[in-house]
C-alpha cells in the first residue's frame, strides 16, 4: 500500500519519467529495433554495452511503457546515492536496484538484491562490462553477474541490447551533445546451457551482443 506522504514523490517521479521519455524520443530520437524478440511482457534481463552515462536512461526510455513500468536497472549505489537529486532519479524515477560495487565495504551480497528483484517479477537492465568502456574495443570482458543470474533463474530470458551512436552524440571530453539518432537493437534471448561453464557462456553472450553492433564506417571502406 502506498503511504499518503509518499504520493507527491511518486507523482513527481512519474512526471519526470514521462518527461525523460519524451526528450529521448523527440530530441535524441532514440528508437528500438526488436530484431531477435518481440516487445512482449515476459520477464527479461536486458544486458547492454556501456559507453556513456546516458546509456541506462536511453535503454529504459526506449521500452514500451507497459514493459518499462516492470523493468528496473541495476546500478551502482555509490553513484546514485551521492546527491539528493540522483537519489530521487535512481530510487524513484528509475526504481533502480542499487548495489554496492565495492566488495570490501559492502554488507550484503549484490546478487541477493538482484535475485530478490527478479523474484518480485521485475525485468532488469544490466551492463555486464561493469564500467563504462573508454577503449577502442567494442566490449570489455563481461563480469560474472550475468552468468550467475542465468544459472540461478534459468527461466528468465537474457536479452542482448546494443546501444548504437551514443558515443558520437557526446564523445568523451565534449560539452555539447549532438542530436543524432540513437538505435537500441534487441537480439535473440540467451539462456545458460545445462553444462555450460562461466567463461563459455560469458563469451557467447559477449559475441551475441557484439553481433548486434552496426558495422563501423572504417570496416566498410
Amino acid at each position: 500500500m502506498v503511504r499518503v506522504a509518499a504520493l507527491p514523490r511518486l507523482l513527481a517521479a512519474r512526471i519526470v519519467g514521462h518527461a525523460l521519455t519524451f526528450v529521448a524520443r523527440f530530441v535524441i530520437a532514440v528508437r528500438a529495433d526488436w530484431r531477435g524478440i518481440e516487445p512482449v511482457p515476459r520477464q527479461r534481463v536486458y544486458f547492454a554495452n556501456h559507453v556513456s552515462n546516458a546509456d541506462m536512461p536511453i535503454l529504459w526510455s526506449v521500452l514500451p511503457s507497459a514493459l518499462r513500468r516492470r523493468t528496473r536497472p541495476v546500478a551502482a549505489a555509490d553513484y546514485w546515492l551521492k546527491t539528493p537529486l540522483r537519489t530521487f532519479a535512481g530510487r524513484d524515477v528509475f526504481r533502480a536496484v542499487l548495489i554496492d560495487r565495492r566488495p570490501e565495504a559492502r554488507t550484503e551480497d549484490p546478487m541477493e538484491r538482484i535475485l530478490e528483484a527478479l523474484d518480485e517479477g521485475s525485468s532488469l537492465i544490466i551492463f555486464p562490462e561493469g564500467n563504462r568502456n573508454m577503449t577502442e574495443d567494442p566490449l570489455l570482458p563481461f563480469r560474472a553477474g550475468l552468468y550467475n543470474m542465468g544459472r540461478a533463474r534459468p527461466e528468465v530470458d537474457l536479452v542482448p541490447a546494443w546501444i548504437a551512436n551514443l558515443n558520437e552524440v557526446m564523445p568523451k571530453g565534449e560539452v555539447i551533445p549532438l542530436p543524432l539518432i540513437c538505435t537500441v537493437t534487441f537480439g535473440a534471448p540467451l539462456h545458460v546451457g545445462p553444462d555450460e561453464n562461466k567463461d563459455a557462456f560469458l563469451s557467447r553472450a559477449s559475441a551475441a551482443l557484439a553481433a548486434l553492433a552496426p558495422p563501423r564506417p572504417d570496416d566498410i571502406r
Binding site: R31, P171, L178, P179, L180, I181
Partner: protein, 311 residues
Amino acid sequence: MSETTSDILLLSLGVITLLVALTLFGEVMRGRLPVGQTNPVVETFMQRVHSWWAIVVLLTLATLAGEIGLLFLFGFVSFAALREFLTFAYKRKADHLSLALAFFVILPLQYLFVGMGWTGLFAVFIPVYAFLLLPIVSALRGDSNRFLIRVAETQWGLMISVFCISHVPALLSFEPAGERSILLILFLVMVVQIGDLAEYYCGRRIGRTRVAPGLSPKTVQGMVCGVLAAAATGALLHWTTPFGPGWAAMLAAVASVTGMFGSLVFAAIKRDKGVKDWSHLIPGQGGFLDQMDSVIFAAPVFYHLTHLIWT
C-alpha cells in the same frame, strides 16, 4: 476572414475530403477481412494515410498561424532532416564542434535570415560562409584522416537539409503575390506530392523502362504520368498563384520532374550508406528525408523560377 485565409481553408478542405475518402476505403478493406486477420498491404496503406493526416493538419495549422508558424514548422523539418543525414554521415571526433555549429548556429541563422526577408544573405550564407567556416573549425583539431569525405558529407547535409528546405518558407517573401505568397507553399507541396503519387501508381501499372536500373523502380512511363498529373493539378490550382494556368502548369511540371530526380539521388545515397529508410519517425513512410526528398530538390528550382517568370 480574409480572402487568403478562406483560400487556405478551401485547399485544406479539398485535401481533407480526399483523406476521408482514403481512410474510409482503407477501413472498408479492413472490414472485409475475416475477424482477427490483417493484411500487411492494407495496414501499410492505413499507416501512410494516418501519417498524411498528421502532415495535412500540421501544415494547415502552421499556414493559418502565418509566417512564424511556417518558419518553425520548416525549421523543425530541417532539423529532423539534418539529424537523419548526419547520423549516417562519416564523421570523427574532430568534427564534433563543426557539427554542433551546423545544428545550433547555422540552421537557426538561416531561418532567421529567411524570416527577416534578407534574401541576399539567405542565398549565400550556407554555400559561401558555412562552407568556408566549418572546414576551418574541423581542421583546427588537427585530424586529417579522410578530411575531404568528412567535410563533403557534412556540407551536403547542410545544403539539402537546411539550404534547400528553407526555400519553401522563403516563398513567403515573393513580393508579387503579396499576402497570398503563403498559398505558393501549398501549391508547391501539393503539385510535387500529387506528381509523386501518380508516378508511383502509374509506374506500377504501366511502367516498362527503368530510369536507373538497379537503383530505383522508377520508370519513364511512370514519370511522364506523374509530370502530366502535376501539370494538370498546377493548372487547376493556378488561382492560388499570381500566374495564369499555362505558367502554373509549367511551374508544376518542372517542380515535379526535379523532385522525381531528387528522389532518385536520395535512393543512390541510401544505397551507398546501406540503409533502406533514413529513420522511423514518420510511421509507414520512413524518415523526414524519405518524405521530403522530392520537395527538397523541387523547392530551390521552384523558388528561382517564380522569381524569373515574374520579371
